[in-house]
């Protein structure tokens, strides 16, 4: 069920991205979309993590597809951190995001950059995958430490 809910949220996100290019979405929608993207990234990253750590047999095709998801979805959240989106709905975004916007953006860009290396690494071998998973995981954690409520 969880998988379906996440997948549905992902579809909603994809559809709304098209809209987002027209005009800024209301804060509630932005929160929903970035959380949907994160949820799907987390879901696919778990597949990569399991293969990187040897908990699941390395499979080039599966790893490649999961990595494509993460790489594509990684570009979604940064569009939906508009002003005031820490004050609506259920979000754990901290106000520091808007106070230290340059640092937040740099960390976000770093995460996106690391995620872009995942598809190729995932299609190379388990060792390359692990290196890319480590780098991406640390880039994710950088923002969680500073800009996300516990």
């Amino acid at each position: 069920m969880k998988v379906f809910a996440i997948a549905a949220a992902g579809l909603a996100a994809t559809a709304a991205i098209a809209l987002a290019q027209e005009r800024a979405l209301k804060p509630e929608s932005q929160v929903k979309l970035r959380k949907s993207a994160y949820a799907l990234m987390n879901y696919n990253f778990a597949t990569l993590e399991a293969m990187a750590e040897g908990k699941r047999a390395y499979n080039q095709d599966e790893a490649g597809k999961a990595a494509d998801w993460v790489a594509n979805l990684s570009e979604v959240p940064k569009r939906f951190f508009g002003e005031g989106t820490d004050k609506v709905g259920e979000t754990r975004a901290r106000p520091e995001i808007w106070q230290k916007r340059a640092d937040f953006d740099a960390k976000m860009d770093k995460m996106v950059a690391e995620a872009q290396k995942l598809p190729q690494a995932a299609r190379t071998d388990a060792a390359s995958l692990k290196k890319a998973v480590d780098a991406t995981g640390d880039a994710c954690g950088a923002c969680h430490d500073d800009y996300r409520r516990k």
């Binding site: 987390n42 990253f45 995981g137 640390d138 954690g141 969680h144 516990k150």
Partner: protein, 218 residues
């Protein structure tokens, strides 16, 4: 006379726990690639704590809770002798040390138990996180990251107390925890080592069940 104050199982437990607590703290901070080690270290700590609980009931005299867990009165009486710079001699844990054992075991148990349900929403999930509701996982994760500082505080207090005894009061507490020997009027009764081996095996089996078998149950 010189007697065996701390038995081998208690000493092994102590130093293994000390090393693993430092290792857990470090691997929790070093970045996401260390998290698989952080989890393994937590499982080992949980097994050690279960062993200590068992050893506190069936183990050697100085390891037993019934022997060293004392009330407020005994604690404050001892604290007075401590403030007078001549702490009353105790074989095994003194009353304040007994409280520290309870606090440390309790805080670490909470840390290990909440870790089983924690989730960093990146790549690391405690083995039981998928079995609990999202609200529970969130709560456990928050407790896990707040309680960490309680553990750090207790470790600092413990090490500071040992240092004060060692160098300000000239009471060697480190040596006995290494070689087991200390001064006492009577030799504490020692429990057989095979009993420690049984307790350790059962503790390890319980943790194995929690982290490897239970999560796979349908």
């Amino acid at each position: 006379m010189r007697v065996r104050v701390w038995d081998l199982p208690t000493r092994l437990f102590h130093w293994a726990l000390a090393i693993l607590v430092v290792f857990s703290f470090a691997t929790g901070k070093l970045g996401s690639s260390w998290m698989p080690w952080h989890l393994k270290s937590g499982y080992a700590i949980l097994a050690l704590l279960l062993f200590r609980l068992a050893w506190g009931v069936v183990g050697s005299e100085t390891a037993r809770f019934s022997r060293f867990v004392r009330g407020l009165r005994a604690g404050s009486a001892y604290a007075r002798t401590l403030l007078a710079r001549s702490p009353a001699p105790f074989t095994g844990h003194n009353p304040l040390g007994g409280w520290m054992v309870l606090a440390m075991v309790g805080a670490l148990l909470a840390q290990a138990a909440t870790g089983l349900f924690a989730d960093d929403d990146i790549r690391t999930q405690g083995p039981l996180a998928e079995m609990a509701s999202e609200a529970t996982v969130r709560l456990m994760t928050r407790i896990h990251s707040a309680n960490e500082w309680l553990v750090v505080g207790l470790v600092v207090l413990h090490v500071a107390a040992i240092a004060i005894y060692q160098w300000a009061l000239r009471r060697d507490l480190i040596g006995p925890m290494v070689h087991g020997m200390g001064e006492s009027r009577a030799a504490p009764r020692l429990a057989p080592r095979w009993l420690a081996a049984v307790a350790a095996a059962l503790s390890a089996a319980a943790v194995y069940y929690l982290v490897a078998i239970l999560p796979r149950a349908p």
